[in-house]
């Protein structure tokens, strides 16, 4: 187990470097200057040129190196060790300096990510918990009497949950609970009420998938020897179902939770847009459209780190639950 963790953590920088190189190369190919405005009055050629020089946007190799130097924490370490001078008026630079935002000159990428990431994580976590509650309940109900009306109903709902895109479910929920019933505000972020609809919308595909995993696992367990033994002992159905069958049936769900967590926290762009949740997804898209190189790279690196770590966590958890994983 420790071996696994160490191995993965050693791999992390290598993976990130590969992602960094690939993403930057692709983003570099987007036409136009990152410091130019796509519409309206444009800065003069001299201004564009000097801004490009300032941010090393004129040469790929220089940008590649200078960004890596700051973002990796190497510069911070060198500053700490007194090897290089502090750059900007004595203000200490952050450990991982992701650079300035070109679209929003008043902000650094660190500030933007620092503001938006907790929102995306909260939204993703809330969605996952809702997905677990709905999904496991529906799965157990379905597996309780396979082929029954109940089973068909939960499977049907799961199918709908997986098939419908978030911009449809989100709009329907807004219309029903926001506009018609007026139970929840239709957008924004901050109060509890504002979190309910986006979290539910985001949770639906996950809930559906979890329901199917749970149902499959449960049905498999229900026909297994230890459940038959439990029933033979005369245990009440409730105990058989929830204690003996469910524990083992949860293994596939747990192994799914790692990727699901990463997906829920990084893939909420549509939900963020529909409910105007100020998360990281929107930045990712607008940064690419605006060729804001610093913001693109910052968000990609943060997302990649999260993906690697969540997958690691889920692997560790699975081994802990079921030592047969190897």
């Amino acid at each position: 187990m420790t071996g696994l963790v160490i191995r993965r953590l050693v791999q992390l920088p290598v993976i990130l470097l590969a992602i960094y190189t690939a993403t930057l190369s692709l983003a570099w190919l987007v036409p136009g200057s990152p410091v130019d405005k796509p519409e309206g009055r444009r800065p003069s050629a001299a201004v564009i040129e000097s801004l490009e020089r300032r941010y090393h946007l004129d040469r790929f190799d220089r940008f590649y190196g200078s960004y890596l130097w700051r973002a990796s924490g190497a510069r911070w370490a060198a500053e700490r060790a007194g090897l290089v001078e502090r750059a900007d008026g004595g203000e200490p630079s952050p450990v991982f300096d992701l650079g300035p935002s070109l679209q929003y000159p008043d902000r650094t990428v660190n500030e933007i990510v620092g503001d938006a990431l907790p929102v995306s994580v909260t939204l993703g976590a809330a969605a996952l918990v809702i997905a677990l509650v709905i999904g496991v309940t529906a799965g157990v109900v379905g597996a309780w009497k396979p082929g029954s009306w109940w089973d068909a109903a939960t499977l049907g709902v799961a199918l709908v949950g997986i098939s419908l895109p978030a911009f449809v479910t989100g709009a329907v929920l807004i219309l029903a609970f926001g506009v018609w019933l007026g139970w929840f505000p239709v957008g924004g972020w901050g109060t509890l009420g504002q979190m309910v609809l986006p979290a539910v919308t985001l949770s639906l595909p996950f809930a559906a998938y979890i329901a199917r995993l749970t149902r499959m696992g449960m049905i498999e367990q229900m026909t297994s020897d230890h459940v038959r033994t439990a029933r033979a002992k005369g245990l009440p159905e409730r105990t058989v179902l929830l204690k003996h069958a469910m524990k083992n049936a949860m293994v596939p769900v747990i192994s799914y939770m790692g990727p699901a967590a990463a997906h829920a926290m990084t893939g909420s762009f549509v939900v963020e847009r529909v409910f105007r949740v100020p998360g990281l997804g929107e930045h990712f898209v607008s940064a690419v459209l605006g060729k804001d190189l610093f913001l693109i790279m910052g968000v990609v690196l943060v997302y990649s780190t999260m993906l690697v770590l969540f997958n690691l966590a889920s692997d560790v958890f699975c081994r802990w639950v079921d030592p047969r994983f190897a």
């Binding site: 309206g40 000097s50 300032r54 008026g89 902000r107 509650v133 506009v179 109060t191 459209l289």
Partner: protein, 616 residues
């Protein structure tokens, strides 16, 4: 267990979020404010918010019919002497920053000097060029920096040298540039030559003052390039200090801005509400829903696919009250005042005003296009033929489906007092065919396929198809539509690698030159590669005239563009669509320049007001 976790998580995040009571007035912007640094402000939404947080010497009066300029941070209109070359502005005695300190002449000089220094790369540095010595000073500073940069990295010694260089530059500024603080209150500005619309510049964000004490503490010298740099912290709360009617209480990126009345503002009577919330909603649907549920009072844009239907519903409502509407119109009331006197109806909450922008087509005038092939559009007769065969009325009526006006000129009629733009070329297929014959392409024979380049996601696809059909039907030319991503689009248009492209332009200030300078051969925004020395000469000559002579000379120059040379084809003048309830919200101007002043807005309590008070 998961439930406990969920509730805990949500409760924590709600608690840590610190909700505030609902603001008196809530405004929605589609885009997040890019910057509050006056040297960088150029987007419309940045300008709108900045006019609430800063105050220039002069401000547009939204209650006047022609958006006249009135004293803002100045105590009176400036004294003008030497035939309009020298201006003396006096800052109000009681002008205060939002931290209570006095706004001085030095704060203005500091801000202007900062924008003029090439180090700041100010977007609107051009607006300072009419001032005596500015171009020369910028050249001196640029030469200084170039010489420094070529000296290589000098480490700590470099920093000291760069610092010395900056001191030199500041002394040079005092000696060369015609901006001077006569005392704590008076600023003297000397222009190279009289500029009739200089005061329009003075009212623009580029001329806002900066709290020198605060901003100068963010200055640092870059030892590698020798440049002065400004840190980014001062544009955000709690550091931000402005001199406008409001202070910036909170700015949550991509969420909202909270503005509270600035208790030090000199004229509390000019401020309509106590607090303002500016929400950022990118999604058109979400914006309309937010308005419909009463969460917001004014949306500055309505970009939804069903906008035309909303406008049609409004027309139906007005139709129902046709008698009353025509009576009110005959009294000279504007559209908002008319709605205000009709019964409150949700259909009339959408408003459409003419705006200060024009949609047009760029025609590439260079001799060859991409790949060195000869460009048929280099011939003005071909360009005129294209212009004459566009049925603009059809575009507006059937595709845009708004009240936008067909455009003959680049400058929207009625937007600038005293300027009467030329009529331009109408829809005349017969004449267009004749033009094509005279150019040597009878019936389009011999003319290579034309390409119309347009941007994806800008809603121009139907317009492009209509244009293609017009040209193919009336001229017999073949047209290929090229829809590209916005980055590719701007790259190709700016690089001149296109034949025909869609384009739009919004004016910055109340003078025709804000549109007409586009076609100068030296313009930085001349995407059409149009060079006509006689047009440049006409523009220069008009600059020496005054008053109505000047305006008619400018109209003559515009006639060259829209009737003779056609480097661009004006198609329609944009309108601005807002959502607000005229019975509650007052203070928005219907003037075509669409300069809105947030401090001028007032709002009355909504029916059953305070019910939603707990929400933002």
């Amino acid at each position: 267990m998961p439930l406990v976790l969920l509730v805990g998580l949500l409760a924590w995040s709600a608690w840590s979020d610190d909700p505030m009571p609902r603001a008196d007035l809530t405004v929605v912007e589609r885009a997040e404010v890019n910057t509050l640094d006056p040297a960088r402000i150029s987007w419309n939404h940045d300008i709108r918010v900045s006019r609430a947080l800063y105050e220039g010497l002069l401000v547009p009066d939204v209650t006047s019919a022609d958006l006249a300029l009135v004293p803002g941070a100045a105590s009176s209109m400036p004294e003008v002497s030497d035939g309009g070359r020298v201006y003396v502005f006096r800052v109000r005695e009681d002008a205060r920053w939002s931290d209570g300190s006095a706004v001085t002449a030095g704060d203005f000089v500091y801000a202007w000097r900062r924008a003029i220094l090439p180090d700041s790369r100010a977007d609107y540095a051009e607006m300072f060029m009419p001032i005596r010595g500015v171009s020369a000073f910028r050249a001196v500073r640029e030469a200084q920096l170039a010489a420094y940069a070529s000296g290589g990295d000098r480490g700590a010694a470099g920093w000291a040298a760069a610092d010395g260089l900056y001191g030199e530059a500041l002394r040079a500024f005092e000696g060369m540039v015609g901006i001077e603080a006569l005392d704590d209150r008076a600023i003297r500005v000397e222009l190279e030559r009289p500029l009739p619309y200089f005061l329009e510049f003075v009212s623009f964000p580029a001329y806002f003052p900066l709290p020198k004490r605060v901003v100068s503490s963010y200055e640092s010298i870059d030892g590698a390039t020798g440049e002065v740099r400004w840190g980014v912290g001062w544009t955000k709360p709690p550091v931000f200090v402005g001199n406008g009617a409001f202070r910036l209480e909170r700015w949550r990126f991509r969420r909202d801005m909270r503005l509270e009345r600035n208790e030090y503002y000199h004229s509390p009577g000019r401020v309509g509400v106590g607090s303002l919330s500016v929400l950022n909603i990118a999604d058109g649907n979400a914006m309309v829903t937010a308005f419909a549920t009463g969460a917001v009072d004014w949306t500055t844009d309505v970009l939804v696919p069903y906008r035309a239907e909303m406008l049609a519903a409004r027309r139906a409502f007005m139709e129902e009250h046709a008698g009353e509407v025509s009576r009110l119109r005959s009294l000279g009331l504007d559209e908002v005042e008319i709605v205000r006197r009709l019964p409150d109806d949700a259909r009339a909450h959408i408003h459409e005003f003419p705006s200060f922008g024009t949609f047009f087509l760029n025609l590439n005038c260079s001799a060859t296009t991409d790949g060195g092939r000869p460009n048929p559009l280099a011939d003005a007769r071909v360009r005129r033929a294209l212009a004459l065969s566009v049925d603009k009325a059809e575009v507006v009526r059937d595709i845009r489906r708004t009240s936008e006006r067909v455009a003959g000129s680049l400058v929207p009629p009625g937007s600038i007092t005293g300027y009467d733009p030329p009529g331009g070329l109408g829809f005349d297929p017969e004449r267009s065919r004749a033009e094509l014959v005279s150019a040597g392409y009878p019936g389009g024979v011999g003319l290579p396929e034309l390409e119309l380049l347009f941007r994806k996601d800008a809603g121009h696809d139907l317009v492009a198809q209509a244009l293609k059909r017009n040209w193919e039907r009336h001229l017999g030319v073949r047209v290929r539509l090229a829809q590209v991503d916005s980055r590719v689009f701007s790259d190709r248009v700016r690089g001149g690698r296109y034949m025909i492209s869609t384009a739009s332009w919004f004016g910055d200030y109340g003078d025709p030159t804000t549109f007409l300078d586009l076609s100068r051969s030296t313009s930085n925004n001349n995407d059409r590669n149009y060079t006509n020395p006689s047009y440049d000469a006409m523009m220069d000559a008009a600059g020496l005239l005054e008053g109505s002579d000047r305006m008619s000379a400018l109209a003559g120059a515009e006639r060259v563009i829209v009737e003779r040379d056609l480097p661009l084809i004006p198609v329609f003048h944009y309108t601005q669509v807002y959502l607000f309830n005229a019975h509650r919200v007052r203070g928005l101007t219907t003037h075509p320049r669409q300069t809105q002043m947030l401090p001028a807005l007032t709002v009355s309590e909504r029916a059953g007001g305070g019910v939603r008070g707990g929400e933002r």
